[in-house]
């Protein structure tokens, strides 16, 4: 069981959260000019690093807010938790 630190509520059990995949994947600025390959890349392709990974979580059973977490995919260590709209902190 992960203990995930919500930026507003503090550390809570993983079962209180929904997972939202990779963080910082911007919606294309002008979708009408995006070709099929790039659109498929935006929709379906995500990084899969062995190591530190910035990902989205939503505190479903608490404040119901989306936020970002930097988690190590091997050790499951969490090094940062920060609100959406802010950039990835330089911690890992």
């Amino acid at each position: 069981m992960l203990r995930i630190p919500c930026p507003w509520c503090g550390p809570r059990d993983e079962t209180e959260f929904c997972y939202g995949g990779q963080a910082h994947v911007p919606y294309p600025a002008d979708p009408s000019t995006v070709d099929d390959a790039d659109w498929a890349g935006y929709l379906f392709f995500r990084d899969n690093p062995k190591g530190w990974f910035a990902e989205r979580w939503m505190h479903r059973a608490g404040c119901q807010r989306w936020f970002n977490v930097v988690r190590h995919t091997v050790t499951y260590e969490i090094s940062a938790s920060y609100p959406p709209g802010t950039s990835r902190p330089d911690v890992a």
Binding site: W8, C9, G10, R12, D13, E16, G62, C63, Q64, R65
Partner: protein, 205 residues
């Protein structure tokens, strides 16, 4: 919710008919009937919640906390999101509590929705109350961490709840969806069983 005696008589708390509800020496569960509950959302980009607070009559609490004014309680649920718990309004019968109209008329950018029928309100109190809660909840309830005036929206025994520490008995007020209320009461009474036999006023354990 207005105090129409006919309506209030029909409303049943989840403890109605329960065989045992504990004791003050160890841990006790009770219904808190007839509360008016309002869910309040205020635009988070708004500069303060001053208009709302003056309509309410007291300050809204910060993250993870409650604030109160006499019998009225405000509980922080999330950024820009609060649960207001007030006594049943008296006066002429209306569909929504006067508090809702007062908030809507405050001029703030907000949503105020009466949810009294959607929740059951319980109180769990006594020296063993934290131990009972800890059976089904992963929040650190040590008084140093979760003291009077703290609150949490979280899971308790797989039920979605909001609870707050309202006094040093200690007493936890618990808000739970009506459809989960009887389950949660059954779970609380079961979790409390092992502590009830510690009560010196009970002859056998």
């Amino acid at each position: 919710m207005t105090a129409d005696p006919g309506l209030l008589a029909v409303r049943r708390g989840p403890l109605t008919g329960a065989l045992a509800a504990g004791s003050a020496q160890t841990v006790a569960v009770r219904d808190v009937p007839g509360r008016t509950l309002v869910e309040l959302r205020v635009a988070t980009n708004q500069d303060g919640s001053g208009a709302v607070e003056s309509a309410l009559g007291f300050d809204l609490p910060a993250a993870g906390h409650t604030s109160r004014d006499g019998q009225q309680l405000a509980v922080w649920l999330g950024p820009g999101w609060w649960l207001l718990d007030a006594p049943a309004a008296t006066g002429p019968r209306t569909l929504e509590a006067p508090l809702v109209h007062r908030l809507r008329d405050s001029g703030g950018e907000l949503s105020a929705v009466e949810v009294s029928a959607g929740f059951a309100v319980l109180e769990l109190s006594g020296p063993r109350a934290p131990a009972v809660l800890a059976h089904g909840c992963s929040i650190d309830l040590h008084p140093r961490v979760f003291g009077r005036g703290r609150s949490a929206r979280t899971m308790l025994a797989k039920a979605q709840v909001v609870f707050a520490l309202t006094d040093d008995a200690p007493t936890y007020r618990i808000w739970v969806r009506s459809s989960f209320a009887r389950y949660l009461v059954a779970w609380l009474l079961d979790a409390a069983t092992e502590y009830l036999c510690e009560d010196p006023t009970r002859s056998s354990g």
